[in-house]
């Protein structure tokens, strides 16, 4: 890049970021604390806000591990086994990326709702999926499903199988090979995948809005609570809710950056 273009490019890139991200998010932070720290604290400690916060954390704690286990499993299957229809599985994983979350939420209702395929069967056993926590978890997990696979699969393919074979000849069984060889080698990609999954689950709106029914204090996650607050002309609630979500995201990104640094100790030097 010639010197003449360096500064305009930098200013352009930073300006783009400022207009789309920094300025709006900054404004939210500013507005949240507009009426002082105490007012913000009051807004976020209402019963509904606390419940939304708790539900969001609960959903993430279930959906993220599910997606992680599924993602690693599918990646291993796709990277380590040849079988007919592998391409189909590979393509299926991407559906949630391509499809609007609203459609995913709607399809979950069609299958698990009261009038859905499994509706009666589930109702007879006293299980409510839709308009309840299981539905929210399913919707969140479905929407965030591709991220772990998309991060881990290329790492596994790049890794190859020689180290795993070497471990086998040294006496390691399948679990030992995975835990001692495969996992440490995919850790970085996996961490990135989990981060993206978590961010997506925390921030998911469309699919959750459809399946949860957004009942305040019952099936409202943080994103739904924010939307609800705006509609109820309660900007303080919306802004503080948004700030909490943003802080979550910040925490997740921090964890990622820290893990990245640590991995570099051997990964970065592995220039062969």
């Amino acid at each position: 890049m010639t010197g003449r273009w360096r500064w305009p490019l930098r200013i352009g890139a930073l300006g783009y970021l400022a207009v789309l991200v920094a300025l709006p998010v900054g404004t939210v932070f500013y507005r949240a604390f507009d009426h002082g720290l105490a007012a913000a604290w009051d807004a976020i400690t209402t019963t509904d806000a606390l419940h939304a916060l708790w539900l969001t954390v609960l959903v993430a704690c279930i959906a993220v591990p599910l997606d992680t286990i599924f993602g690693v499993g599918v990646s291993l299957i796709l990277a380590r086994h040849r079988f007919p229809g592998a391409w189909l599985l590979d393509a299926f994983v991407d559906i949630p990326l391509a499809l609007s979350p609203v459609v995913i939420g709607l399809s979950l209702i069609l299958v698990y709702g009261k009038t859905g395929w499994f509706g009666n069967w589930l109702a007879a056993r006293g299980i409510t999926v839709i308009f309840s926590v299981p539905g929210i978890v399913m919707a969140s997990a479905a929407v965030a499903l591709p991220y772990v696979v998309r991060e881990v699969l290329p790492v596994l393919q790049e890794l190859g199988t020689e180290q795993e074979q070497a471990a086998r000849t040294l006496g390691a069984g399948p679990w030992a090979v995975f835990r001692r060889i495969t996992l440490p080698n995919i850790r970085r990609g996996l961490a990135y995948g989990i981060t993206l999954t978590t961010a997506r689950v925390l921030g998911e709106f469309g699919a959750v809005a459809i399946v949860s029914g957004a009942i305040a204090g019952k099936t409202e996650t943080l994103t739904l609570y924010i939307s609800d607050s705006i509609e109820n002309l309660d900007p303080a609630g919306a802004y503080t809710g948004a700030v909490v979500l943003a802080l979550f995201a910040l925490a997740v990104l921090t964890v990622l950056t820290v893990t990245d640094r640590r991995r570099e100790s051997w990964h970065g030097r592995a220039a062969k």
Binding site: Q165, A166, R168, T169, L170, I181, P184, A270
Partner: protein, 343 residues
């Protein structure tokens, strides 16, 4: 016998990797599986290790039938061509891997790793990561790692393939010495005949998935079972319809007819100086051609120029032996050669 391979066949899709191969590896020997790339020798090594399963045939190691036994239960040390170092573990932890899997006591693991690092000359690099080692050092680390489990047999896949010429030469010598210290039955795969003859005490030549010949390097060089083995193991040229090593031919000036009934006359086509040897191409009368390998001294005395008239004769067959046989043995022992192809 330490390893007995009996009638092993393996296909990958339509490609035949191994076709009814049988061979035995004596305890304590250093055997090279030698042959051109894609000939099936690496597949055979992987089948012995249990990394691939044969379609037919069996593998016995120290009397025990291990066909179908998973690799981790075979007690076989395996070194990969690119060493397959565990990149996230230090040299010490790499070497300790097999012992840690076996849950040996910490003190024992430490003592054994120290001993092995000493053996392969990496004691001072124990805390490095594989990415900080040179190719030769990684190779030695991989060897120490494989030896840590006290394997019944040691299998090396193209052990020097990825190294530069000088390091390769050093490691050959080193491996030879290591083997004479440890006496562990070793099988190595190589496509380099010079390397195989230098390092191994026995060769198994494998081509197109079949065992061509099995024996000591010297025996096979002098008594190749067929044309392939002859031409693969060293230089060869044709005289009177028989294969002969070019260093088993002599050149005489036209005025000095050699005392050999089968001597042929010809014209020097080209003289090539290759350092310690001189290669002389001769167009024979009335047709055909051959080439003769001479020492620098012999070539200097003859002072050959293209166009010179010369006699060419064999030195490896007595003059009264009629007719001169090809060096390829027409009748070789049956068990040394594979039986007819599959299908």
């Amino acid at each position: 016998m330490s390893i007995i391979v009996d009638g092993v066949s393996k296909r990958f899709g339509d490609a035949v990797a191994l076709d009814d191969v049988s061979l035995e590896v004596p305890t304590g020997s250093l055997t090279a599986l030698l042959g051109p790339s894609g000939g099936g020798k690496s597949t055979l090594l992987r089948i012995i290790a249990g990394l691939d399963e044969p379609d037919r045939g069996s593998i016995r190691i120290e009397g025990e039938d291990l066909t179908g036994t998973p690799a981790r239960k075979r007690g076989v040390g395996f070194c990969f061509q690119h060493y397959a170092p565990f990149r996230h573990l230090t040299v010490r932890r790499n070497v300790a891997f097999g012992l840690e899997i076996r849950r040996r006591p910490k003190a024992e693991v430490k003592a054994r790793v120290d001993e092995l690092l000493e053996l392969v000359g990496l004691s001072h690099l124990g805390d490095r990561y594989p990415s900080q080692l040179s190719g030769g050092q990684r190779q030695r680390m991989a060897l120490a790692r494989a030896l840590a489990i006290e394997p019944k047999v040691l299998l090396l896949d193209e052990p020097f393939g990825a190294l530069d010429a000088q390091v390769r030469q050093q490691l050959r010598q080193w491996l030879r010495e290591l083997h004479s210290t440890l006496h562990v039955t070793t099988v190595l795969v190589t496509h380099d005949q010079e390397e195989a003859m230098e390092v191994a005490d026995r060769l198994a030549i494998i081509n197109h998935g079949r065992l061509e010949q099995l024996g000591t390097p010297a025996h096979m060089y002098d008594h190749p079972a067929n044309e392939f083995v002859l031409t693969f193991l060293g230089p060869a040229t044709e005289l009177d319809g028989a294969w002969v090593r070019p260093h088993d031919l002599v050149v005489h000036p036209a005025a000095d007819r050699p005392d050999h009934p089968k001597a042929r006359q010809g014209t020097v086509a080209r003289v090539t100086h290759l350092g310690f040897e001189v290669r002389v191409d001769v167009d024979l009368d009335p047709e055909g051609s051959c080439w003769v390998q001479l020492s620098r001294g012999a070539a200097g005395e003859l002072d050959l120029q293209p166009g010179d008239r010369v006699w060419v004769a064999r030195t490896d067959v007595p003059a009264d032996d009629e007719p001169p046989p090809s060096v390829v043995e027409e009748h070789h022992e049956r068990h040394l050669v594979t039986v007819p192809p599959l299908s």
